[in-house]
């Protein structure tokens, strides 16, 4: 059933009795062409693009909980393509372009809002590093602007410019960056994929990968065994666990990242702002809540919750950046588990196991990547070849030295 | 002119302690009786001693023979006549002398028996007491300083308001617990900013301990 202002009005007169489920609740088939493990943003996007761009529709998305129960519903909803390295920038720019057409593609309003993303800088060296990045973005066809302090002040008058420990000197702005309504992204992809025949199997936990002669041929699940020609993993946070079922070790650690939302407030801040002298980023949702976050807790964890030191660090950064937040109340905080890769960049690749495809290592930047990740993963699954913009995301890059280390932090996941 | 210059040269090598320009005697905060007393310490000698692998007992014997205090094997302070041995990590201590007089000689004597690094100027030190001293410290120290949990003579390496500190408890004074704190010299100003903000509600009197001997 197509969504539109007209259908909404029509239903309003009928007491909304005519709406049908956004997706079916089918029983698992015995075999699919492609099984996607993980009903989060990336898995659902992969399903949508397999079906819509490659006409592969005999597909099931296996989700151990409910659709969108992982990081797609636990993030701070930021979208941007302000990357430095050539391995990354074109990929995230493809993602941005897909975001820009997402509502029309999916017939679902995920509230993609290009309100701008500003990364603040606080020193000359940081300015130069941002200039390097801004220039790299321009070379990749991405919009970027390097702002001075006065330009930032005009956009963000509330920040602390006069009494700051690390005064704001300026910022790198990507106007096309912004935010999107995270749950709606998952739901939109799920509904679109379902409409093309993809099966959404919720409460279907994969407990084993069936191997025959070194090839992955199916999965054991809490809803019984399912065979598949191709098995694709998109299980951020749990990549290590699922890969281990096929005997693989990955250059990944699982870490917890906390996120926060304030009480609803009348509009205060129109763009996404990141603090350059600490770990802190903030934006305001359409509902009025300030959505903010900071650094990962820093230790391996699957617990989906964090601890006070990082919470306090986030609040300190909030106050340092914007002393007017003192009386704003934090309403909720929660944690998501992240695939922290060894160079801070993702992996979209085949694996040493035939028939098993890997999409992982998104660190805490997976949300913005959702469309391109699904798009490129679908391409890889359908064609067996990496999509050109994702060609750098190979599993062997750690051995060859073709690292994609945006921060230069080295082989320590919790520093990325 | 020449005379004046000579005089100023002589004076100019006078040392400038870690609290100079940061804290000075006086009082601040709530009036009506100081809840916290701060005594600024200066002019002491301080050095890191690190024992070679397996040589901690030997080093301890040498220190004991020389100064009458054994090196504590746990986070404790051992105090002698004019010296303290303060645990500073496994096989590592701070040796504190009440005066810098003869301290260099002492360090030279000890140097063959362990790694010795002079740290006399590396820390700002303050002694804290007063009826509200634990309430004050609770605003920064992530440790249980209750008398039953942190005994007289206990030492801890920890942090206060993002500043790394070393803290120990001395014998009780008239108002109860007494603590001394070492702060990295470069961060003394930030420590003091935390201290003044935190102690103000209790009222605070600041004094400077007399410097013992030449420096």
């Amino acid at each position: 059933m197509r969504y539109s202002a007209f259908s909404l009005l029509a239903q309003a007169f009928r007491g909304h009795k005519g709406w049908t489920p956004a997706w079916r609740d089918p029983e698992p088939k015995a075999e699919y062409d492609v099984i996607i493990i993980g009903g989060g943003g990336h898995g659902l996007a992969t399903a949508h693009y397999l079906a819509s761009r490659h006409d592969i529709t005999n597909v099931a998305v296996l989700e151990k909980g409910y659709l969108g129960s992982g990081n797609v519903g636990r993030n701070t909803t930021i979208i941007r393509s302000n990357y430095l390295l050539p391995g990354n920038t074109p990929f995230y720019e493809l993602s941005m372009k897909l975001w820009e057409g997402l509502e029309q593609d999916l017939n679902y309003n995920a509230m993609v809002s290009q309100r701008g993303v500003i990364n603040l800088y606080h020193s000359d060296a940081q300015r130069d590093a941002f200039a390097r990045r801004g220039n790299a973005m321009r070379l990749a066809g991405v919009d970027s602007e390097l702002l001075g302090q006065e330009q930032v002040r005009a956009m963000l008058p509330y920040l602390d410019y006069d009494n700051a420990r690390f005064p704001v000197q300026g910022g790198l702005l990507q106007r096309r960056g912004g935010s999107a309504r995270h749950d709606a992204v998952a739901w939109g992809y799920a509904r679109a994929a379902d409409s093309r025949g993809v099966d959404m199997l919720q409460n279907c936990e994969v407990t084993g990968i069936t191997m025959v002669g070194g090839r992955a041929v199916g999965v054991e699940t809490s809803r019984g065994p399912i065979r598949a020609k191709k098995i694709a993993m998109a299980v951020a946070g749990n990549s290590g666990r699922v890969a281990a079922m096929a005997g693989l070790r990955l250059p990944i650690e699982t870490h917890v990242l906390q996120a926060f939302v304030s009480e609803g407030l009348k509009p205060l801040i129109d763009t996404v702002v990141t603090f350059g002298a600490g770990h802190f980023y903030i934006s305001q949702s359409d509902k009025g809540g300030l959505v903010f976050g900071g650094d990962i807790d820093g230790y391996n964890s699957y617990a989906q919750r964090g601890n006070l030191p990082v919470i306090e660090d986030v609040m300190e950064s909030a106050m340092a950046l914007w002393p007017g937040l003192g009386r704003v109340r934090m309403l909720r905080h929660w944690g998501g588990v992240m695939d922290m890769s060894m160079d801070g960049s993702p992996i979209i690749d085949t694996t040493p196991v035939d028939g098993l495809y890997l999409n992982s290592g998104w660190c805490y930047g997976g949300f913005k990547a959702t469309p391109a990740s699904g798009f490129c993963f679908a391409h890889l699954i359908a064609t067996g070849e990496p999509h050109p913009v994702a060609a750098a995301y190979r599993l062997d890059r750690f051995a060859t030295g073709r690292l994609i280390d945006e921060k230069g932090a080295g082989a320590q996941p919790n520093l990325h | 002119m020449a005379e004046i210059a000579t005089v100023s040269t002589a004076v100019s090598w006078a040392p400038r302690g870690a609290w100079a320009g940061i804290a000075q005697p006086g009082s601040f905060g709530a009036t009506g009786g100081a809840g916290v007393l701060a005594t600024l310490l200066d002019g002491f000698g301080l050095a890191t001693l690190i024992a070679a692998p397996g040589a901690a007992p030997a080093l301890s014997r040498i220190v004991e023979a020389r100064l009458g205090i054994a090196l504590p094997q746990a986070p404790k302070i051992a105090s002698g006549q004019a010296h303290d041995a303060i645990w500073a990590g496994p096989d590592q201590w701070l040796l504190r002398a009440a005066s810098r007089d003869g301290f260099a000689g002492l360090l030279a004597e000890l140097a063959p028996h362990g790694a010795v690094s002079d740290q006399s100027d590396a820390r700002a030190a303050v002694r804290l007491s007063g009826p509200r001293v634990r309430d004050l410290l609770a605003k920064g120290v992530m440790l249980d300083l209750h008398p039953a949990a942190f005994a007289v003579g206990d030492v801890a390496l920890t942090s206060i308001a993002h500043v790394g500190v070393q803290i120990w408890r001395l014998a009780d004074g008239p108002d109860g617990s007494v603590f001394e704190i070492l702060v990295p010299r470069s961060m003394a100003g930030s420590f003091w900013a935390w201290f003044t903000a935190s102690a103000a509600e209790f009222g605070c009197a600041v004094t400077a301990a007399p410097v013992a001997g030449p420096r």
Binding site: G15, S113, S123, G288, G326, R327, A411 | -
Partner: protein, 994 residues
């Protein structure tokens, strides 16, 4: 001024001798000490206090506690304005100033209530189905409209004038909640000598005892309460913290709490914070947080005047306020009857009691008669009348007949939910108790026990018994002998029978599940219809439970309606998961002292005050503040100053503080071996008394840090690190020692703080030092050659260390003295160098000179470069293993066209270079594929009279002489540069050895 027409003439815990003035929406009122804003408003007959989120419906006070979804106000004004403040927990103070929010132009006449007219379209998730066309309209039109309409109160936005603190506490037992269970627990543990912290979010301890007419041991509960509090206050190890909310449970028994130190005052008291964020470390904790009453979902259940029955009782008994003149009670259990009884006892009129349970027993009939109330056993409320205030209700009796009844208060009682929030903060799942018809705590986090109503033990007797037992257990756990436990106090009997009704069906009109977010039962039905059935989908799709009250009054009803829709039970449908914080927490309280300049500690060099005296401009360098340059009068831009400083050094002598460099004392028999392993170059052959430049890698082969390290003795080295990496390098070396090679005899300690160190650079440096270093030390070129490093004395016997090392390329030394002498050292050097025009220089001039010499620094050591990239590949020893050796040799890292280090100069010498520019071939398109590298550092060279740059470019030194474009579109730069040697000044190094 309006009178307090709803205030009872007596009773309650307010202090009628202390009248307090306050205002709401600009209108003055009066209340009493001990009131909340809500009780004071109700006392004054103010019913309409807020507007709902989506439909802007008029709303009144629903509750008397932290669960309040409706009565949210903007408290205070100006920079202290606090939006979304719950009037029900706001302690009244004299001069309190509050305003309603989310309405325009006024609370009574709110234009956005027109949303109600189109509400048929504004169902759950409507925005996902529309606003999609045309795409560009979302940001421009739809979203701004939505954003303006959404949100609740207005944040001040201005800098918060109050300050905040953090604090840390430790205890044997943390008791959360100061009601009967909590008090009994604290008493039992406290009597044993346990260290107890008792926190209560209220400003009075007692919990429900304050709101109920109960007896303990045959006497009014207030007497027991007073005696208990008196005893607790006298126990030295018991600390009572009222106005303190324990908001979260974290790992290993750490509880987050916020103490509202000054919120009950117009402004915090002098020297006191507004709030204090506590981290409480508890060996054991008892959650005695009571329970929250549940509303019933029926049409019109949101009109001001519809109130939870327990809250109505609170207003009567605790605040001496009659929340209505004509009351109708709508109850699903025995508990509601207490409200009718207490209202009647206080002189209020109870018009009717609608008890949804079937046939009433004779006792209830008798009580209704006694209260003069009509009893509708088996009846329900199916509608309300009134807009801004309740005028009456429609009752449907057991036979199905309906009748209207006038009233101005509808008290609603549907049982209570245990306040078990903290039990789920560690992923614990609550479990459904079929008998109690509520969720009760499931698996508990380690160290936490639950007492009283929070455990589903709803009677006073159970609360007292739980508390005493668990408090005693906690004391025993702490190794204490239990105090002789007296008998658990006796309580008067209470009836707790309950048959909850989740919603009244078969009636028309909006029936609210989540008041604040305007989620109705129809929205839940729609979610079910569209497949959003898992509880998280329900919440996320409808926004149920996502408002500032976090669904305290709505989650269970929503779940129950979903269960009914899907034909499942409540526990099959899901559990309610609560995330911290229990109630919203001010950001300031968790930041504490760390804001503004105190966000992070500042590190100051021992020479800082001297630099300040010299007029230095300081710059943040990591945690340090370093002198950036020293402007002189008449110098109007920094470049003029820096040029002067550089020229002074190159022509005469200058001095620059370098105390901020990391300094690590390394001793031990294996010190040289250790350095062999952590540096890429060799160390064993370094003679005593000499310094050497060293480069260390991360294990992944990229450069970590560099610096000079000096051999002070056979087994004694002094390593210097960059200012930025000092801490990181120390940690790294400790790792190498303790984790990789513990068998080595290495003893390391940071001596960064001990030494004041200054670079003395320039052709006249030796002459300057000659006047400062004691004459006994020969510092002639022969006796003290380049890279000499030795102990000397200055100022007549003051120990010092002298290093002949140079970052500027000039004849240069670094002189170090103990920090106490740092200030004097600068003055002595200034005097000694006066004849040579000695000039203090800062980090800018330092940077210019290092670029002139082609030395790498932070901009090049960015974690993405290998020694080969930086032209330092020759330093990599082939004879030994060292950290990073293998990984630096990976295929992609030794490819020829990997960008490597060279210098750049503008072909047109008037043009300015910029770091961060990318290199593109002349005539090539500005696309990523043509990107050849980037400029890392630039400076203006007063020596060359033009800008110069360092950078990394494909092909590197092999391309010297070639021209490329330095492309810098973010600063509108695109200039032609020539690739050149990175050494711009004195490439032969003649000056260095002079």
């Amino acid at each position: 001024m309006s009178g307090q027409s709803f205030r009872l003439v007596s009773g309650g815990l307010v202090d009628r001798d202390r009248a307090l003035n306050f205002s709401f929406d600009g209108k003055p009122y009066r209340g009493f000490a001990g009131d909340t804003l809500a009780s004071a408003l109700l006392a004054n007959g103010v019913r309409l206090v807020g507007r709902s989120f989506k439909y802007h419906r008029p709303r009144g006070v629903l509750s008397a506690g932290p669960e309040e979804p409706n009565a949210l106000v903007e408290l205070r004004s100006g920079a202290r304005r606090e939006p979304n403040t719950r009037a029900t927990v706001t302690e009244l103070f004299d001069g309190l100033d509050a305003a309603s929010q989310n309405r325009w132009p006024s609370l009574v006449f709110d234009l956005l209530s027109l949303n109600g007219l189109v509400s048929p379209a504004l169902v759950a998730g409507f925005y996902y189905k529309t606003f999609m066309w045309p795409a560009a309209f979302w940001e421009k039109l739809y979203e701004p409209l939505i954003r303006r309409a959404a949100g609740l109160g207005r944040a001040a936005g201005l800098e918060d004038p109050d300050h905040y603190e953090k604090a840390f506490a430790f205890c044997d037992l943390l008791v959360i909640g100061g009601g009967p269970a909590g008090l009994a627990a604290a008493l039992a543990a406290g009597r044993s000598g346990a260290r107890v912290i008792l926190c209560d979010e209220d400003f009075c301890l007692g919990g429900r005892l304050l709101a109920e007419k109960r007896e303990i041991d045959g006497k009014p509960a207030a007497e027991w309460l007073a005696a208990t509090l008196a005893e607790l206050e006298n126990l030295p190890e018991v600390r009572i913290m009222s106005r303190t909310t324990v908001f979260g449970l974290y790992d290993h028994g750490i509880y987050g709490a916020v103490e509202r130190v000054g919120d009950h005052l117009p402004e915090p008291a002098p020297h006191q914070p507004r709030q204090r964020g506590w981290r409480i470390h508890a060996r054991r904790a008892i959650l005695a947080a009571g329970a929250l009453e549940r509303p019933i979902v029926f049409p019109g259940n949101d009109v001001p005047g519809v109130m939870l029955a327990g809250a109505a009782r609170t207003y009567v008994n605790r605040y001496g306020v009659l929340p209505g003149r004509e009351t109708v009670l709508f109850t699903a259990g025995d508990d509601g009857w207490a409200t009718a009884r207490d209202i009647a006892a206080a002189g209020g009129k109870v018009a009717a009691i609608v008890d949804a349970r079937g046939e009433a027993d004779p006792a209830r009939k008798a009580l209704a008669d006694k209260l003069g109330a009509r009893l509708f056993a088996g009846g329900v409320i199916e509608g309300t009348r009134g807009g801004r205030q309740l005028d009456g209700v429609t009752i449907r009796d057991a036979s199905g007949a309906t009748m209207a009844l006038a009233c101005d208060l509808l008290a609603v009682s549907n049982g209570w939910n245990p306040t078990l929030h903290l039990t789920s903060h560690q992923n614990g799942k609550a479990v459904w108790d079929e008998a109690l018809q509520c969720f009760v705590p499931g698996t508990l986090p380690a160290g936490l026990a639950v007492a009283g109503s929070a455990a589903g033990h709803f009677t006073l007797g159970q609360a007292l018994e739980d508390g005493a037992r668990l408090g005693g257990e906690a004391a025993a756990e702490a190794g204490l002998k239990p105090a002789a436990a007296g008998p658990v106090p006796m309580t008067d009997p209470e009836a707790t029978a309950l048959q909850p009704i989740w919603r009244v069906k078969g009636a028309k009109g909006k029936a609210f599940v989540d008041y604040q977010n305007d989620v109705t039962d129809k929205d839940v039905e729609l979610a079910a219809r569209e497949g959003f059935r898992p509880v998280e989908h329900l919440k996320r799709y409808t926004t149920l439970g996502m408002a500032t009250d976090q669904g305290k009054t709505s989650n269970l009803s929503g779940l129950a309606i979903m269960a009914e829709q899907t034909g499942k039970t409540i526990p099959q449908t899901g559990t309610t998961t609560f995330r911290p914080p229990y109630t919203p927490v001010a950001i300031g309280a968790l930041a504490g002292h760390h804001r503004g300049k105190e966000f992070r500690p500042v590190r100051l060099a021992p020479t800082h005050d001297w630099s300040k005296e010299q007029g230095a401009v300081f710059v943040e360098a990591g945690q340090w503040l370093r002198a950036q340059y020293y402007p002189k009068p008449g110098e109007n831009d920094w470049l003029t100053t820096v040029n002067r400083e550089v020229q002074a050094v190159r022509a005469g002598v200058g001095l620059c503080d370098v105390s901020t460099l990391g300094k690590i004392d390394i001793q031990g028999a294996d010190a040289a071996e250790f350095l062999e392993r952590v540096y890429i170059n060799g160390w064993k052959a370094l003679p005593v008394g000499k310094a050497r430049y060293g480069l260390m890698l991360r294990e992944d082969g990229f450069v970590m840090d560099d610096g000079t390290t000096s051999r002070l003795g056979d087994s004694h080295f002094l390593m210097t690190t960059t200012t930025a990496n000092a801490g990181k390098v120390m940690q790294h070396l400790e790792f190498c020692h303790q984790v990789l090679w513990p068998e080595l005899d290495i003893r390391m300690v940071s001596v960064s703080e001990q030494w004041a160190q200054v670079a003395v650079a320039g052709p006249r440096a030796r002459e300057t030092l000659r006047a400062v270093v004691d004459p006994a030390h020969d510092i002639s070129n022969e006796a003290f050659p380049y890279l000499a490093a030795r102990a000397v004395t200055v100022g007549g016997g003051i120990p010092a260390r002298l290093f002949r090392i140079s970052f500027s390329g000039e004849l240069a030394y670094e002189l170090a003295v103990a920090a106490d002498h740092g200030d004097a050292m600068m003055r002595a050097l200034m005097r000694a160098g006066q004849p040579f025009g000695i000039t203090p220089y800062g980090t800018e001039a330092l940077g210019v000179m290092r670029i002139e010499k082609g030395h790498v620094a932070g901009n090049e050591l960015n974690g993405q470069t290998t020694p080969r990239d930086l032209g330092l590949g020759k330093m990599m020893s082939a004879k030994k293993d060292y950290l990073g050796r293998l990984m630096a040799g990976r295929q992609a890292l030794i490819e020829k066209d990997r960008p490597s280090f060279v210098g750049f100069r503008p072909v047109d010498p008037t043009q300015r270079l910029r770091a961060g520019a990318h290199f593109i071939g002349i005539g090539k398109a500005d696309i990523m594929e043509n990107d050849e590298g980037y400029m890392t550092s630039v400076a203006y060279s007063p020596h060359l009279n033009h800008w110069m740059g360092l950078g990394l470019i494909k092909g590197g030194a092999a391309r010297i002489g070639e021209r490329v474009r330095a492309y810098d579109p973010v600063r509108n730069g695109d200039i032609v540069v020539e690739i050149c040697s990175p050494v711009f000044v004195d490439p032969e190094g003649a000056r260095l050895h002079g």
